[in-house]
């Protein structure tokens, strides 16, 4: 018994099977997390090794080169870049996407083991660490306080960071910018000298005085007592009474030579939110945790935490990476619902019956929910790609059901019993329904097999659409006939209202069908005219539009976030930086009313704060995080505001480098950038070329910001001791150096304990004695004979320049010029102008500029996708050829493919969109859809001929009879894509081009092919007819 009859005869089982699918789907929907993009493994491994004392060039030759040579041969390595700076060599190995990173790590470790013995003595063993997008903070909080400010760090540490870190999924919680308590002992060098003391002796004495010692036990009578010496300071003021020496038989107290302060660290990162000093809390998630889920839990916990905090401490959210994700997914949900309604309406208008419409659209939720089971089973998320896939599929899943239902209705009209009509109606079209699904699978299954970035992005799309197509075909062949047999009646009577509404629609469609048949009648007799006009259209569009075609990688998103990194000249004092930062804030606040939250921080990061240390930091670096709120709440785009901010920053002459990045931390979808990598060994030559390129690119309107990767030579002071003088004083570089550093940066003598927390006690010169070069030269060190000597007697302070970090890529020195593509320009335009600038620049023969960055990735992905397109075209042709058992018919149908390209080109030109990765996916999808119309048309033409009609008569009859189903399936697909193409919600930029390419490509190709294909078919068919006649 056929599957159709089984389904019709067992309606309960059939219904229950699909209900089970839906229940699993709903369960999966509830359990599937949401995310921005499909998850992918990190593809970057870093190798760090240090060689203390070596300068950048030494590191490069002795360490970096050795490591690079060893690691260059690691499997699947895509790019090897390195940075050599003083003491440290840092190699970054970027692997092909999809590489098993654990295996890669093992390979790297093996290679490192081999070279370990060749590394210079004194270099540390290289350390491997993996870095992925998961390491980026997912949330930034800001805590403001008034009265509690001095104790804020402790409060946040105890009451905020610790409970938050306990939440499952939360990785680390860092508090930056809150004042850190420190007890400082500020010595007066003159007094120290007169009492014959030094900073280090004072530090030793304090350490010795600040002790608790367990001293064993004593038995007294029948009791045993423990013994302790308890002399730790219980109050910082006790320090003042410490005896640090004796002079003329009188004790010298600490208060005689120093002051003691209980305050905050001198140099630390300061963070301000909306102009008020506040701590910044960064939250990282654990690798593999879901951002949205983690943040949801954090927010829940924050409500509780806020209750326990002192009333003046106010915690606000600066950046919440889940917000954009949730909004984007919600936009997609809306899009899916709208698409569903649109498709339902189209089906209803064409069929004029609620029952039929109901039967057909029922396959949408079934297929969609079934695909969610896949997402859940494979541990994937609901993200932009998977949700777009659902939306794309809606318009296509109904096609099969429409074909089946239409044929069942024909059988019913003939007077068959509903059950029999359902079985026979389905079995007649079964093969062609399966064939058309196969052509779609030819398009979508190869998507699941591609590698690289495209693979990560579009694997899910491929699977989801494939699953949806398979499920919907199954439903069309079982559930639809079953429902038809139950719900459809042979002669459904319609009311007057129905007639009033559908009468005109019917007449209109009839009119179009007749008109179309007449056009085909004309076209098939004027084949040459039709074919040459079509060819003309094709050549004209390709010739006119294709050369000016703009391309991009990913569209520019708008998530309302800006991150800015500003570098003032190296060595700018923190006070100056603070002043500049405040002025920038005031200017920005005045100029940009959209500001929701503006957080900035600056200063040297604490050594124990890993995340802050990985970022560029220092007293001269200001980092700003701006939250502009969701797109719907403002008129201007993030890009526009970014440009304005760049303009504001340009007005500050003291800013050496300002980098305004759209899209917060590490998220995709900001502005594209063009990187020109200038390779060459000589610093001077590459610097000159890079600067020239930077200057030229800045003048070009396609770039809004151009930065160089290499820092300049930075000034520093060195204490240069004279070894002979040191020896005369019985000192050496280490002892003298220690005294120098003790005076300037202080000695951590011991800890002051209070309430279970430890605070540093730092002894150093009072601030007023370390402000100038003279002060440094006047630092006193006691020589081996106990006599005080000044630094200037031992050597002198010299100003030198530190060479910049040496960057290398693929074992060659380079410097990168990064240009951010301006608003309204496409990546391809920026690349073209960069190329023009490079060509126009006089470049020495030892320097080679190469364009890389997003452009390189885009080219990689495009070439992957183009190979895929060719493969898909061949596969689709093969499926059709086997369905028609002919090489000619599918060849005729393939004529619709170039016109899909024409449609896409026109669409891109009309809307001024650039062709990006999403657009390419649109084109790939089109390959499957555009041939469907041709299949329907040619299949029926062949059928008419088999029934004995002539070639032209068959074409006209087929055209007349098939126009309606073709219009219906095309409209469901085009209108189903429309909400994607014109939606305006948050994140919609991402899929605009996808919807747009499909809409335009399918519309234009349908219009052209409806006329062209019958004409081309006639040409081939008459020729083969003639050949047959000749033979006979």
């Amino acid at each position: 018994m056929s599957i159709y009859r089984k389904a019709v005869n067992n309606p309960v089982t059939t219904a229950l099977i699909f209900i089970a699918f839906m229940i699993f789907g709903i369960f999966s929907l509830a359990k599937t997390s949401i995310a921005q993009f499909p998850e992918f493994d990190a593809n970057v491994i870093m190798v760090m090794s240090s060689y203390p004392g070596a300068n950048a060039a030494d590191i490069e030759t002795n360490l970096t080169k050795v490591l690079e040579n060893a690691l260059n041969g690691v499997e699947d390595l895509k790019e090897l870049t390195s940075r050599s700076k003083e003491n440290i060599s840092l190699l970054t190995l970027e692997f092909e996407y999809g590489t098993d990173i654990d295996e890669a790590t093992n390979n790297v470790r093996d290679k490192l083991d081999m070279v370990n013995s060749v590394l210079p003595d004194g270099a540390t063993a290289p350390v491997i660490f993996k870095f992925s997008a998961d390491d980026m903070p997912i949330m930034l909080l800001s805590a403001q306080a008034n009265e509690s400010l001095p104790g804020l760090e402790k409060i946040l540490d105890d009451k905020l960071a610790t409970p938050l870190a306990r939440i499952p999924g939360v990785g680390t919680v860092n508090v930056i910018g809150a004042p850190t308590r420190e007890i400082h002992v500020y010595c007066d060098p003159n007094k120290l000298q007169s009492y014959g003391l030094s900073v280090s002796t004072i530090a030793q004495i304090i350490a010795a005085e600040n002790r608790n010692l367990p001293s064993g036990n004593i038995d007294i009578g029948s009791e045993t007592y423990t013994l302790r010496v308890q002399k730790e300071f219980t109050d910082p003021s006790e320090l003042l009474d410490v005896v640090v020496g004796a002079t003329n038989g009188r004790a010298v107290y600490l208060r005689d030579v120093a002051t003691v302060g209980d305050g905050s660290k001198e140099r630390e990162q300061e963070s301000y939110t909306n102009g008020v000093r506040a701590a910044r809390i960064t939250i990282q998630k654990q690798t593999g945790a879901n951002t949205v889920n983690v943040i949801r839990k954090v927010k829940k916990e924050l409500v509780k935490i806020q209750r326990n905090l002192p009333s003046d401490v106010n915690v606000s959210i600066i950046i919440d990476s889940s917000e954009n994700i949730i909004n984007t997914i919600n936009t997609l949900k809306e899009t899916i619902i709208i698409t569903f309604l649109v498709v339902m309406l189209v089906v209803f208008i064409f069929l004029g019956s609620w029952k039929s419409t109901g039967i057909i659209v029922l396959s949408i939720p079934i297929a969609l929910l079934a695909s969610l089971v896949y997402l859940f089973a494979t541990g994937n998320t609901l993200n932009i790609i998977s949700m777009s896939a659902l939306s794309i599929a809606i318009g296509m899943v109904v096609d099969d059901a429409i074909v089946v239902l239409e044929n069942v209705s024909t059988h019913l009209a003939r007077g068959e019993k509903p059950k029999e009509a359902a079985v026979h109606g389905t079995s007649e079209v079964g093969i062609s329904v399966i064939a058309s699904t196969l052509t779609m699978l030819c398009v979508f299954l190869p998507l699941t097999m591609i590698n690289g970035m495209a693979g990560i992005m579009f694997k899910q799309l491929g699977w989801i659409v494939s699953i949806i197509m398979i499920v919907s075909t199954t439903a069309a062949l079982t559930l639809v006939p079953m429902l038809c047999s139950i719900m459809l009646k042979p002669n459904d009577k319609h009311g007057k209202l129905h007639q009033k509404f559908f009468g005109p629609i019917d007449r209109f469609l009839e009119m179009i069908s007749n008109g179309y048949a007449r056009i085909i009648g004309w076209a098939t007799t004027h084949r040459k005219a039709v074919i040459f006009t079509s060819l003309g259209i094709f050549v004209a569009t390709v010739g006119l539009i294709a050369p000016g075609l703009k391309t991009e990688f990913f569209p520019r998103g708008d998530d309302g976030r800006l991150s800015v990194s500003i570098e003032l000249p190296m060595g700018t004092a923190q006070d100056v930086t603070r002043d500049v930062a405040e002025r920038i804030y005031e200017d920005t606040k005045a100029a940009i009313p959209e500001l929701k939250i503006y957080n900035y921080s600056f200063g040297q990061a604490d050594t124990d704060n890993t995340f802050a240390n990985m970022q560029n930091n220092g007293t001269h670096v200001i980092s700003i995080n701006i939250n502009l709120g969701s797109v719907s709440t403002r008129d201007r785009s993030t890009a526009e505001i970014a440009d304005q901010l760049r303009g504001i920053l340009r007005r500050y002459p003291e800013i050496r480098k300002a980098n305004v990045t759209e899209g917060g931390m590490g998220s995709m979808g900001g502005a594209s950038s063009v990187k020109v990598e200038v390779y060459g060994y000589s610093f001077e030559d590459t610097d000159a070329v890079a600067k020239e390129l930077q200057a030229q690119m800045l003048e070009d309107p396609t770039f809004s910001q151009v930065l160089l990767s290499r820092d300049e030579y930075t000034p520093e002071y060195q204490m240069d001791f004279d070894r002979t003088k040191l020896a005369l004083n019985g000192l050496n570089s280490s002892t003298a150096g220690a005294a120098f550093s003790a005076a300037m940066s202080g000695t951590l003598s011991s800890y002051y304990r209070e309430d279970g927390d430890e605070y540093d006690i730092r002894v150093r010169y009072a601030p007023e004695f370390r402000t100038s070069i003279e002060d440094m030269e006047n630092i006193v060190v006691n020589n081996a004979f106990g006599r005080p000597v000044r630094m200037k007697e031992l050597g002198n302070v010299v100003e030198t320049l530190v060479p910049p970090t040496i960057e290398r890529k693929d074992r060659e020195r380079m410097i990168t010029v990064t240009g951010v593509v301006s608003r309204g320009s496409a990546l391809s335009e920026a690349v073209a102008s960069a190329q023009k600038i490079i060509d126009a620049t006089d470049i020495p023969s030892n320097v080679t500029p190469v364009i890389a960055g997003d452009y390189e990735d885009q080219q990689d992905m495009f070439s992957d996708l183009i190979v895929l397109i060719i493969l898909i075209i061949i596969l689709v042709y093969m499926v059709m050829a086997s369905q028609f058992e002919s090489f000619m018919s599918p060849f005729v149908i393939m004529f619709s493919v170039p016109f899909a390209a024409v449609g896409v080109l026109i669409g891109l030109a009309v809307t001024g969109t650039a062709l990006g990765a999403m657009g390419m996916i649109g084109i790939i999808i089109l390959l499957g859809i555009v041939v469907k119309n041709g299949i329907v048309l040619i299949d029926y033409t062949i059928l008419c001929r088999e029934r004995g009609m002539g070639v032209i008569e068959a074409s006209v009859t087929a055209a007349k009879s098939r126009l309606r189903p073709i219009l219906m399936t095309t409209l469901t697909t085009v209108l189903g894509m429309l909400p994607m193409a014109i939606g305006t919600g948050e994140g919609s930029e991402m899929w605009h081009s996808l919807g747009m390419t499909v809409c335009w490509g399918l519309s234009i190709s349908t219009l052209v092919t409806l006329i062209l294909i019958p004409s081309v078919y006639c040409v081939f068919a008459t020729r083969s007819e003639r050949r047959k006649q000749k033979k006979s």
Binding site: H411, R414, G415, E416, K417, E420, A421, H424, E428, I942, L943, E946, R947
Partner: protein
């Protein structure tokens, strides 16, 4: 005793057997999915791409007095839905065992 040969669209399926039963006719021989074409008009039932429908055929040996009833019922069924196609032919049985 007459032989009645009925060729009918497969959409009738069990209906014809039921019709025979209603007329008190138990025995029959059926061929499923046969192809054929009418002499005058109507769609051919060839089970191919052009004419996808197919026929069933029944040969049944009927007592003389039941033939008229069966034929009348068959005619009624045919007239109800002319597009499907149903034909019955009757001839004499010479001998049987």
């Amino acid at each position: 005793m007459k032989a009645v040969f009925i060729a009918y669209n497969q959409a009738y399926n069990e209906e014809i057997v039921e019709l025979l039963e209603a007329n008190g006719q138990r025995g029959f021989t059926r061929w499923d999915e046969t192809s054929g074409r009418g002499s005058v008009d109507g769609e051919p039932h060839l089970g191919n791409h052009a004419w996808p429908t197919q026929n069933h055929a029944i040969l049944t040996m009927v007592e003389d007095d039941k033939v008229a009833g069966i034929l009348a019922d068959l005619k009624k069924a045919d007239e109800q839905s002319k597009d499907l196609g149903l034909r019955a032919f009757v001839w004499n049985i010479e001998m049987f065992c």
